[in-house]
Symmetry: C2
Subunit: 137 residues, 2 copies
DNA sequence: GACCATAATGCAAAAGCTTCTCATTTCTCT
DNA sequence: AGAGAAATGAGAAGCTTTTGCATTATGGTC
């Protein structure tokens, strides 16, 4: 299945690519940094170079298979693209990321962009806050 | 005047800090990277080390005088805080940044955060697109 | 199933951006 | 003006990410 996905976007089916895709699909966290992936693969006894991980993730991004996010952490995180757009709620204490979707906001954004004469290509809405669990601590 | 601002937030009034503040107030671009500032100061014959600029900007950020943004450029940009919140429209071709404000979106964000149980601390909405000028090219 | 051209990988080195260290200088307050 | 504390400069170091190049693996073909 994933094999097809890779071929479809013109990428050879290689072990590193399969493993990385698999991990993105199955990991607890939906948002992983390159290093997270590297370490998780090591734990699973898959020694894949960090450079390869970066290269593969960039190719996946170009191919539209994953999305790269720059939260305010200094590290980019990657997320498997599941076709539907959503925005993010990031806990500044524990780093947890939740997703949400809001039609009103989407509509407003389109309106704002077109009023400014922009051809919109992407957008990113991130709300930073403290999640319920971290508020208790 | 700025002198007071600095003292108020517990920072000594030094030449580098004054020059950086001045630049942020008077530059054509409202959003400047540390390196932009470094170069602009050089042009104005003010040799201020890049390290100092980073330090000062971080202090200004902590003091609430400037805001740091992480657009998808790999470089942080800084903007003088003028008290009122706004969001950003970034041109992916020329890098130009425009600002906008939309009450509906703000309200939605607050609602979303509180529904998820988050205590909101900040948010960032960035719309990426191609500006009118760049569309012509 | 083996072969070949091409593409992918790994490693180490390099490249950006940002932060840190520490000796020296500059402020503030008296 | 002088003392103590804080800030600066320069270079080194730290992190994340990218690149170069020799080696290895893949996909299509015979």
């Amino acid at each position: 299945m994933e094999t097809q996905d890779l071929k479809k976007v013109g990428l050879k089916v290689t072990l590193p690519r399969m493993k990385i895709l698999e991990l993105l699909q199955n990991a607890d966290q939906r948002h992983l940094s390159a290093e997270d992936i590297y370490k998780l693969l090591l734990e699973a006894d898959e020694e894949i170079g960090l450079a390869t991980i970066y290269r593969v993730l960039t190719q996946f991004e170009t191919a539209g298979l994953v999305t790269r996010h720059h939260f305010e952490t200094g590290q980019a995180v990657f997320e498997l693209e599941r076709g539907e757009h959503h925005d993010h709620l990031v806990c500044i204490k524990c780093g947890k990321v939740e997703e949400f979707k809001n039609e009103t906001i989407e509509t407003c954004q389109d309106k704002i962009a077109s009023e400014a004469g922009y051809r919109i290509t992407d957008h990113s809405l991130i709300i930073y806050g403290v999640c319920p669990e971290c508020q208790k601590k």
